[in-house]
């Protein structure tokens, strides 16, 4: 677990694990043992809900026969989509409940999480999941008032977090972007873009453009910073390498959002989609990067699923626009890949429930740096 702390100089990280993980000390008292799951639970688990709701949106898009009467659309049983959607909803509800309990009972840990440069980004994840679920919901039409209400409910936290975190990037001394930037920071951008897409779907063009432009500007900065790879931004532990996949989730999401805003998959969308395709190829062609993360199952594996799903979504939109055989094949391949990955992850999660909440999560421990209330 000291993996992260030992692999890079602690001075480079905003919150390095100075003290040992409380869970390892064995000094846990009875009530702590009862809520041990809360101690070990963290926002990173929202990767699961993110992946599932992304899948739900993908199935919704694929089976959306209103615009594109393709054979694939009709072959997807709607019951399966409903099942998937409810599964995603259930998972998200469960995770949210757990996290709310954690907020109540382990508030210092949550605060530490908020200050951690990796974990902080995952605070966006529940809201993104909610927005994705909202967009894929079979029960509401985008112009329903409830939809608007829910959009406000889910996008406000994202906007507030944006203001907080983007402000930190260029004002707070210890949280300069060059220090805190890591691939997980893409989630903040994705939050913006998802919000913009949902707004565009509702027909709020100006709001969508405004949110999109904020996201795009910060994405530019983040992309450059991440590509430069300063020493400070190298602080992602090897266990979390799957998060690298978010590199291509952001441009895909941007292309989806711009597609919704401009209501056609134009050259800009294509460029963003192609960029994410290239980044995907670039990541896939270096499997050694992920070798250390693949040794043991952990919740970080779930980070593979969501980017693939978003890429498949963008590919679906692209195929809808281009209508070529190659585009369709690409879309099918990516969709099958993302579904397969998600299924495999679900199977792994079911089989290895023990590994899901490890005692030595490298991601977890720094969050507990402040002593727990006894």
């Amino acid at each position: 677990m000291g993996l992260e702390a030992s692999s890079s100089p602690s001075s480079l990280k905003p919150y390095a694990a100075d003290d040992t993980c409380p869970m390892g000390t064995g000094g846990a008292t009875k009530p702590e043992a009862r809520f041990a799951i809360l101690t070990r639970f963290h926002a990173g688990y929202f990767r699961i809900s993110l992946a599932l709701s992304g899948q739900a949106l993908l199935w919704r898009t694929l089976s959306d026969s209103s615009t594109d009467p393709r054979p694939l659309a009709r072959s997807l049983p709607s019951a399966a989509f409903l099942l998937l959607w409810s599964l995603a909803l259930l998972a998200l509800l469960a995770l949210c409940a757990l996290y709310a309990a954690r907020c109540l009972l382990r508030f210092p840990a949550v605060r530490a999480e908020f200050r951690h440069h990796v974990a902080m980004n995952y605070l966006f994840a529940p809201w993104i999941s909610w927005l994705l679920l909202l967009q894929s919901t079979p029960f509401l039409r985008p112009d329903a008032p409830l939809y608007h209400l829910l959009w406000w409910a889910f996008s406000l936290p994202i906007l507030v977090l944006d203001v907080k975190i983007y402000g930190q990037w260029f004002t707070r001394g210890r949280k300069f972007l060059s220090m805190v930037a890591n691939p997980a920071s893409h989630i903040t951008i994705i939050g913006n873009l998802v919000t913009a897409r949902a707004a565009a779907k509702m027909g709020w063009h100006e709001a969508a453009v405004a949110i999109f432009s904020v996201g795009a500007a910060h994405y530019l900065v983040l992309f450059v910073t991440l590509y430069q790879r300063f020493l400070g931004s190298d602080s992602l532990p090897a266990m979390l390498r799957p998060v690298f996949f978010l590199f291509f989730a952001a441009p895909s999401m941007a292309s989806l959002a711009w597609d919704a805003i401009s209501s056609s998959f134009d050259t800009g969308c294509k460029m963003l989609f192609f960029l994410s395709l290239f980044l995907f190829a670039s990541l896939v062609s270096r499997p050694t990067l992920f070798k250390r993360a693949m040794r043991r199952f952990s919740v970080a594996w779930w980070a593979y699923s969501f980017p693939l799903t978003v890429l498949a979504l963008a590919a679906a939109e692209y195929a809808r626009e281009v209508r070529e055989a190659a585009a369709n094949v690409l879309m099918l391949a990516l969709a099958v890949l993302s579904v397969a990955v998600t299924l495999a992850l679900m199977v792994f999660t079911a089989l290895r429930t023990g590994d899901l909440l490890p005692h030595d999560d490298p991601f977890d421990c720094p969050l507990l740096a402040p002593p727990l209330v006894r």
Binding site: L220, F223, V224, L226, Y227, Q228, R229, F230, L231, D234, F244, F247, P251, T267, K270, M271, L272, F273, F274, L275, L277, F278, L279, A281, S282, L283, S285, R286, L289, V322, E324, A327
Partner: protein, 710 residues
């Protein structure tokens, strides 16, 4: 060995050759001077026949009856004999120190006469040992890279007068071993033939495993007509009987120039590695001189990126720091191929972009009043084509014979970008071709796009995934070469009428261009290689936006706002470079400068494209002016190149940037180097004065700290 695989190089299953009675035909009658390159793993592969003089034929005594040279490809593999590339080896042989009188002769001709024959047996260690267990005791000191050809001698051969032998003859009663350098096998073949005629009764003694001493009649069979062709060379070596020259022979063996062996693709090391792979651990008794051992260690792995920054200096990282000791001899001239850098493809870039420029000048409406003839374009294009063929064939030779050097170039933080140059030059050739782009087959685009795409996956992946070659460390203006390829691909694809492919490359190029642009402008303290003063390399800044503007204009169908934005960025960068240019300010000329001319040409072509859209006096003046500047620059560079090539004769200086050691040399080694070097005093003084200079201005201390080894 994987190098060999890479290049389809051949492949001979030794196992099979041993078990089956495959070997050399009339081998007993002369010294077969082939070296046989075999790659067991690929024995079944349908590799392409590859002719090269570097291939060696390994012969060894066999328990077999007949030894036949399988010169035609059979199930066992192919023996590839090449005569084409002998010049290199001759040159290398010429590097031999003492025997200047014989320099004109190929290496084996130098050696062979001295090897007076019959039972002589100057066994070299390595390859022979790895193959013949019986040769274990051979303790002579031939270099580790020697390929040893051991030939069973006639049973009646006098095994006289080798008093100083360190090995036991009883083990290898009748074997003759020759250790030869890589030398033109064609010449060997001629020997093979002449001697075969004379000694068709040669006897073979199977020596190795069973120590079966029954001589076997040997069947002289030459399968390949090629073997018979070359009879001009009358080297009689093996036919000489007598032992008087044995000592000399040994000396010759040891004086063979082994200093460049670590960089050779086909040297003894390869064969030994192969035998290791085949599960036959080589004997540790290789009599290897300590120096060559060291050099072998050092070339086993490519130096890390840090080492390149530590050991080299200069804006192109092409000068060795004074505290460094090169792997290769510093004072001598290296073989030509080793001195031939990848940046030579810059010439192709420069000339082929000129061809495009003149094509545009001749065909674009705003410059129609100039009445430029298309002939200029044709001439330039054919010159560019010839240059491309020449440069790429030479470089291909380097890939084949000095793969290690190529590998080191590929890991050189700046040279790596030049690996895009050949493909970009090919794209330029297609763009500048006398035909219309729309008439061309789309396959051309796909064929040229694929290597660029693969290189990008490699290079951009290195930037992104961190490690030693993260962008914050290697960022350099020459990285533009790896960006601009995207836009050229997009431009060509759009001109051909493709739609999605160009957008793909444009998107990838744009994203990475932004990253690179910001990084270069930031001048991070971790960027060691950014030149402090203005250097021609900065003109690469102009390349990407100007080509991007043309590509975007082609993708969108007209020169729209996006294209104009890119074009004006290029124009601004061009101007800001032009106002602070200081001509002839003490930069060492290098071939890479050619690569820096194509941005100017690109800017002028973009200007002409812009003038097509906005046609007024200003734009026309601008386009003519910029074209003139580009042409004059290229002409000036041509003159300089010719001057350096034929007057100063230093166009291809020793390419030290590939010869750095893998680890920082110890101080004692540096001292030893200076002592041993011929011009020691001067060097020493030079080295003492140099560090103070470099400390004063060149290196940034923080950077050095950052580069400290983990």
């Amino acid at each position: 060995m994987h190098l060999a695989c890479l290049y389809g190089v051949y492949i001979f299953s030794l196992d099979e050759s041993r078990r089956a009675n495959t070997s050399i035909g009339p081998f007993a009658s002369f010294h077969p001077l082939f070296r046989w390159c075999w790659v067991p793993k690929l024995a079944a592969a349908t590799a392409v026949g590859f002719f090269s003089s570097g291939f060696s034929l390994l012969l060894f005594p066999q328990p077999a009856d007949h030894f036949q040279l399988e010169a035609t490809g059979e199930a066992k593999g192919f023996l590839n004999i090449g005569m084409e590339f002998s010049s290199k080896d001759i040159q290398m042989a010429g590097l031999h120190s003492e025997q200047s009188a014989r320099e004109a002769l190929p290496a084996f001709l130098i050696q062979v006469p001295s090897q007076t024959i019959a039972g002589f047996d100057c066994v070299g260690g390595d390859a022979n040992v790895s193959l013949n267990e019986a040769d274990n005791e051979s303790g002579t000191t031939t270099g580790n890279q020697d390929i040893v050809i051991s030939i069973p001698a006639p049973a009646s051969a006098p095994r006289s007068a080798l008093p100083g032998r360190a090995y036991d003859d009883a083990h290898i009663p009748y074997s003759i071993s020759l250790s030869m350098p890589a030398s033109p096998s064609g010449l060997h073949l001629s020997q093979f033939r002449t001697s075969a005629v004379q000694r068709d009764e040669a006897r073979v003694t199977p020596a190795v495993a069973e120590f079966d001493v029954h001589p076997v009649e040997e069947q002289v069979e030459v399968h390949s007509p090629r073997l018979l062709k070359q009879t001009r060379f009358h080297s009689q070596p093996i036919l000489l009987h007598g032992s008087k020259n044995v000592d000399e022979a040994r000396r010759c063996d040891s004086t063979r120039d082994k200093r460049f062996d670590p960089f050779k693709t086909f040297s003894g090391r390869l064969e030994r590695q192969l035998s290791n792979l085949r599960g036959r651990p080589q004997e540790p008794i290789d009599a290897v001189s300590p120096e060559s051992k060291i050099s072998e260690e050092e070339t086993d792995q490519v130096p890390g990126a840090d080492r390149y920054f530590d050991a080299l200096e200069g804006p192109e990282l092409d000068t060795l720091r004074a505290t460094e000791v090169p792997v290769l001899p510093k004072d001598d001239k290296w073989p030509f191929l080793l001195r031939f850098p990848i940046s030579a493809f810059g010439m192709c870039l420069g000339v082929s972009s000129q061809a495009i420029l003149w094509k545009t000048l001749a065909s674009a409406p705003p410059t129609a009043f100039l009445h430029v003839s298309l002939v200029v374009n044709h001439v330039l294009w054919y010159v560019a084509l010839a240059l491309m063929v020449l440069v790429s064939s030479i470089y291909l030779l380097k890939v084949v014979f000095y793969f290690e050097a190529v590998r080191r170039e590929f890991y050189h933080p700046i040279r790596a970008n030049f690996f895009f140059a050949p493909w970009i030059a090919c794209l330029f050739l297609v763009l500048g071709a006398p035909r219309q782009e729309t008439e061309m087959h789309h396959g051309v685009w796909y064929a040229l796009m694929a290597p660029i795409f693969c290189l990008e996956l490699k290079i951009y992946g290195q930037w992104m995934s961190g490690g030693q070659r993260r962008l914050s460390k290697v960022a350099n203006p020459s990285n533009h070469l790896s960006i601009v390829g995207n836009f050229v691909v997009a431009l060509l694809g759009a001109k051909m009428g493709l739609r999605e492919g160009p957008i793909f490359f444009f998107a990838v190029g744009l994203a990475h261009y932004m990253v690179l642009f910001v990084t270069l402008y930031q001048r991070l303290p971790t960027n060691v290689t950014l030149p402090k003063e203005l250097h021609p390399v900065f003109f690469l800044f102009v390349a990407a936006p100007s080509v991007a503007s043309m590509a975007w204009a082609k993708i969108n169908g007209h020169f729209d706002t996006g294209a104009r934005i890119a074009y004006f960025i290029a124009l601004f960068l061009y101007m800001s470079l032009a106002v602070r240019i200081n001509f002839f300010r003490g930069f060492r000329f290098s071939l890479a400068w050619w690569a820096y001319t194509f941005p100017m040409t690109g800017a002028s072509i973009a200007t002409i494209t812009y003038a097509t859209e906005v046609n007024n006096v200003l734009t026309r003046t601008l386009s003519i002016g910029l074209s003139g500047i580009a042409t004059v620059t290229v002409a000036g560079l041509l003159v300089t190149t010719v001057f350096h090539a034929f007057v100063l004769r230093d166009l291809f200086p020793n390419d030290v940037s590939i010869a750095i050691t893998r680890r920082k040399p110890k101080f004692s080694k540096i001292l030893a180097h200076f002592r041993s070097s011929s011009s020691d005093m001067k060097e020493l003084v030079f080295s003492l004065s140099k560090p103070s200079q470099s400390e004063s201005g060149e290196t940034d201390p923080s950077v050095i700290c950052a580069r400290a080894e983990p």
